[in-house]
């Protein structure tokens, strides 16, 4: 037997299978399969083929119905953009897991693999699924539509080529981004970055949705065409898609060459970034990423000259960021509740675009903003497990902190201020951004712009009430004897549930208000609503001050008494 044939390539293949298994991915025809490996592979290939053929046939049959308002070019270009973004997002998730958080480098490096083989295997293991998905969907949909429409040979070549190039570009861009972000920001801060990017993405999505919705009028087909046109216009900004489409629809060879060149450049950049940055970042993370650092007096005074409160807040921020619960909350805050807000509008497009008179009158605007501010605060605090677990999270370090010469009032304030900061990102900031978007899109008139800061204030005060109550509840009986910090990330307390319920109710009130806006401007109702709104704001204001002063006194007492 020639030993050289079992060289580099088959070694990488085996390593890929091992990596997939180690990272919890299912391997087809694996030892655990219920049918023989060969049969499993045949079955999966057959299913993929049937699925692709099904999509192809479906698109082929539907083409004549859609031909009136969807052209092959806009469909292809839009689909390419969607798949590029999808492969990018999927690849980012997989690459972070397989390249950085799998903790397997210590085992892999002593094995008889070169560094290049390990990285290649890791990147391939991370990109099999996104690449396969893009290839199948793009080819099935575009070929089905294009063949029925009678497109030429360049279209076919371009589609098949793009089926490979689009995911490769997306994955390379993802590798490039992840490697650079990890290099620049390290591990702990990287979680914050991810959350911040997620938040910005969601805010952007909501803003874009409102802008697009206010621009789309008409029914069914024409609206779909208008939506597709928006995506089509955006896809022009991605040069690889733009030039590939010039080749596919205008037969421009230069377009093909440019598209290939752009993909090549992205790949080369990704390879260079991996060579330069990957191993030292990943290895340094192995040493520092998962260990818990003990609390010392020095770590509490890390700010140096600042006051005790400042040092405590910085300690709280650091310890929370190391906690998995923070990550889960961060995810919920950034994605979940704004999505809950946007979802009904995606399902029923007419809520914002057709029925209401733009701009809103003063009374519907006041009621809408009040309800939305309360909903934002309720949902943002409701999904937040940080204040509800503030003292429990300390675990065994709780007694050490109590023994330190710090004022327990400052300790409470540090917890409260940090929680306020996190919750305000999800509620106050969201109210402000959404308000600005609404003003820019013409939903509220210039005279009513004062509602934006007012709504933000209401949201802030309500955040304060909820957080104070959660801290009070946790300080009565902190649960310190836990095994794993992830235990917390699944538990929501009673205050959280009340906040979520209030948030959902107020959210419904907000939607009803938008729906009934023209009726609310009648003089009799107008006065009643204004009086009720003013009363609600006053009650929230008084309650916030009262609860805050009570809780600031009560919590240190509770902490002192706790054994």
């Amino acid at each position: 037997m020639d030993k050289k044939t079992t060289g580099g390539f088959s070694k990488i293949r085996k390593l890929i299978a091992v990596l997939q298994k180690c990272n919890g991915q299912a391997v087809i025809g694996d030892g655990g399969a219920l049918i023989p490996p060969a049969a499993a592979k045949v079955l999966v290939y057959a299913c993929v083929l049937i699925l692709a053929a099904g999509i192809f046939a479906g698109v082929y049959m539907l083409q004549p119905f859609a031909a009136g308002f969807i052209k092959a070019r806009s469909l292809t270009q839009s689909l390419m953009l969607v798949l590029l973004i999808m492969s990018f997002v999927l690849a980012v998730k997989n690459i972070v897991t397989i390249l950085y958080t799998s903790n397997d480098l210590e085992l892999l490096l002593p094995m008889p693999f070169s560094a290049g083989q390990i990285v290649t295997a890791k990147v391939v293991a991370a990109s099999v699924f996104p690449a396969g998905l893009c290839f199948i969907v793009l080819n099935a949909v575009c070929l089905g539509y294009g063949i029925r429409e009678g497109q030429g040979i360049p279209f076919m070549i371009g589609t098949v080529l793009s089926g490979v190039l689009i995911p490769v570009t997306g994955i390379s861009a993802a590798v490039l981004l992840v490697v650079i972000v990890f290099r620049l920001f390290g591990f702990i801060r990287n979680r914050d970055m991810t959350i911040a990017i997620g938040g910005i993405f969601t805010f952007g999505l909501t803003a874009a949705h409102i802008f697009i919705n206010s621009g789309l009028k008409g029914d069914g087909g024409s609206r779909a065409a208008a939506a597709l046109n928006v995506v089509f216009a955006v896809s022009g900004a991605f040069p690889n898609i733009f030039f590939m489409n010039r080749f596919m629809f205008e037969g421009s060879i230069i377009g093909l060459a440019l598209s290939l060149a752009i993909t090549a450049v992205v790949i080369v950049l990704a390879v260079l970034a991996v060579r330069a940055f990957y191993f030292d970042t990943a290895l340094s993370m192995q040493n520092t990423g998962t260990t818990n650092k003990a609390v010392t007096k020095a770590s509490l005074q890390s700010g140096g000259k600042g006051s005790a409160l400042k040092a405590l807040i910085s300690y709280e921020a650091k310890s929370s960021r190391r906690n998995p619960a923070y990550m889960i909350y961060g995810f919920a805050m950034s994605f979940l509740w704004p999505v809950l807000f946007a979802l009904p509008m995606f399902l029923r497009n007419d809520i914002l675009s057709n029925d209401i008179a733009i701009p809103l009158g003063t009374v519907p605007a006041v009621l809408g903003f009040l309800a939305f501010s309360i909903a934002a605060s309720g949902l943002s605090c409701g999904f937040n497990i940080l204040p509800g677990t503030a003292f429990s999270r300390e675990g065994s370090t709780f007694s050490a902190i109590r023994a330190l010469p710090v004022d327990l009032k400052d300790y409470f304030r540090s917890k409260r201020n940090f929680s306020m900061l996190i919750c305000s990102l999800g509620s106050v900031l969201y109210v402000i951004i959404l308000g600005i978007v609404c003003a820019a899109a013409g939903f509220i008139s210039v005279g009513n712009v004062w509602l934006i800061p007012a709504g933000a204030c209401v949201s802030f005060l309500l955040d304060l009430i909820f957080i104070d109550l959660m801290l009070l509840k946790n300080s009565r009986k902190p649960y310190l004897a836990w095994d794993s910090e992830t235990e917390f990330s699944r538990k929501l307390g009673a205050v959280n549930i009340v906040a979520v319920v209030l948030g959902v109710i107020m959210f419904i009130v907000c939607l009803v208000d938008l729906k009934l806006a023209p009726m609310l401007d009648a003089p009799g109702i107008q006065r009643m609503i204004l009086v009720i709104s003013a009363a609600v704001v006053l009650v929230i204001f008084v309650l916030a001050i009262a609860v805050n002063s009570l809780v600031s006194r009560k919590v240190p007492e509770n902490l002192m008494k706790f054994e």
Binding site: A26, G29, D30, G32, L34, A40, K41, L43, V44
Partner: protein, 110 residues
């Protein structure tokens, strides 16, 4: 063809997802971590685990196929609604009984 509404699309998507899940269990032998933990906790034998995986693969496949076929029948309007509902109810009842019979035998296989 009857007018297709959004519920039908949702059901077809759920059906397809279930079928894909069934095929994945069949070809990889991977069930959810929670199910693994439950089997482990009850000290089910290797044979029992295999039977359980077979059962969940089969149930996913059959369930998915039934949902997809039902949606197709409704969309094509080849069957009237009363007959359709009776058949669907009987099918669901039979499948549930079968499922629990095999499930219990798996769980007691130690």
């Amino acid at each position: 063809m009857e007018k297709m509404d959004y519920n039908q699309i949702l059901f077809v998507a759920i059906g397809l997802y279930t079928i894909i899940r069934g095929i994945m269990i069949l070809t990889t032998g991977k069930i959810s971590a929670r199910e693994e933990a439950k089997l482990h906790e009850r000290k089910v034998s290797e044979k029992g685990i295999r039977k359980y995986k077979m059962l969940s693969a089969g149930m996913n496949l059959i369930g998915g196929l039934v949902v997809v076929i039902c949606c197709a029948l409704r969309m094509l309007a080849v069957i009237d609604m009363t007959t359709f509902r009776i058949i669907a109810l009987i099918a669901i009842a039979l499948m549930l009984i079968l499922y629990f019979l095999i499930y219990n035998s798996c769980m007691n296989d130690r």
